[in-house]
């Protein structure tokens, strides 16, 4: 899996890492049981502090996307969306869609973009329907 991080971006690096890993799960590049590098190895490859990687992994663990184990390291887990997640995610999607509407994108255009993004994810993923 290729991860890219923009060191000069306004988005914090841990957030970028977390986002890229979530996208890799949706893409099917990472599946249940896939292991991630150790925090130190990943930090060394990026040339960033390992606490930053720790923070990203911790976020993913809290969201139930990975399991952290002293022996096996970070491993991707299967997860089922619970009701609190649905509510929280809908709120975030609302903001994102509102941005598009506020900037004058048509509803058709927005829906089309949503559809093509969803289609770009691997279809074998069980949780790809919101």
């Amino acid at each position: 899996m290729i991860l890219t991080v923009d060191l000069a971006s306004e988005v914090p690096i841990y957030q970028q890492l977390r986002d890229r890993i979530v996208e890799a799960i949706a893409d099917g590049v990472l599946t249940e049981g896939s292991s991630l590098p150790t925090t130190r190895a990943l930090a060394a490859d990026f040339g960033i502090n390992f606490h930053t990687v720790n923070k990203a992994y911790d976020l993913l663990r809290q969201q139930g996307l990975i399991r952290l184990n002293r022996k096996t390291g970070a491993v991707v887990t299967a997860t089922v969306a619970d009701p609190p997640f649905r509510t929280e995610w809908t709120a975030r999607a609302r903001t994102l869609l509102a941005e598009a509407v506020a900037r004058g994108l048509s509803a058709d255009e927005i829906l089309e973009t949503c559809r093509s993004v969803l289609d770009s994810f691997d279809t074998t993923q069980p949780e790809d329907t919101p």
Partner: protein, 361 residues
Amino acid sequence: MTVAIALSAGLSALVLVLALMVPAISSPSVPFGVRVPAQHTHDRAVKRQIRVYRWRMVVSGIVAGGVGVALYGVTGVTLLLPVTVLVLVGAWYGCFFLANHEIRAVKAAEGWYEGLRQVVAVDTDLRTDPPRFPWLWLAPALIVTVATVVVGVISYPLMPETLAVHYTAAGTPNRLAAKSVGAAFSPVFVQIGVTALLVGIAAAIFLRSRPDIDPAHPASSARWHRRYMVLGAKALLGLAAMIDAGMLGSSLLMWTGTVTAWAPLVVVLPIMAAVVVAIVVLARNNRERDAGEADTGLTHRDDDKYWRGGMFYVNREDHALMVPRRYGLGWTLNFGNPVTAMLLAGVVALLGLVITLRFGG
């Protein structure tokens, strides 16, 4: 004498060919060790510098050859001939630095990186599913070393009472030692040391190096890096085997008391052959082939500030011990890593010890 002249000339030719070749085999994204964005890899300034550099290198080659001939003509000392090689290497760095400097100046003046999204790309598979270390390639070195020990042990009672432990460049022994296990088996210690050192470097490439993934085409870049790592390790292990073979040859000469003018060739030829093969193999694979991967539109971040003098990588925040060279073949040490300082101190201490033992005793 003729052997020394031939060896110096051969080595100079090798250096010159390599110097002329490097611009063609280096990644186009780092011409002369300057990071340039994809749209400037074929910039007029870059092309011009490659041309100018090649001319300077050819002139340097002629000058270095002239210096060699003049030195030998005036002094008649063959020991001075390697000086030509050093002069050539010095000139090579000079030519490289001028080109590096010019391209950097144009890059800064024209603002090549302005408005580009600079990212760092990492291939996690390299850590979760690393390539296998080519252990099998260690077998030849081990077999040659063990063979040397076996032959040495069997023939020890038959060896002459005084052993030649050091030769002049012309192949005549200039230091003798009474027969002892330490004197007779000194080539074996060299074999063990060299094999351990080269295995150590190969292991460091696998365990403590960091790839330099091009975010514009990360998948082919990562694939190439894996391949290059394995090739690099195989080249080092092959080199170890050939150095060990050279030491086996020199021990056979020592143990049988043979004195010939071609004695240096027994050691130097296998090593030179291995070096040439390693260089050719690495040079042919020194940059990723265009695998037709779609451009992601991302740009590698400008990391020139970590490359002092264009060639020495100094980055304290980078935990990697070795990084791929930007200009030339293989890897280079991260001089900002404390482990590098310790390693260099160790090498200096070891050299000091060897010199003291050689000349003090």
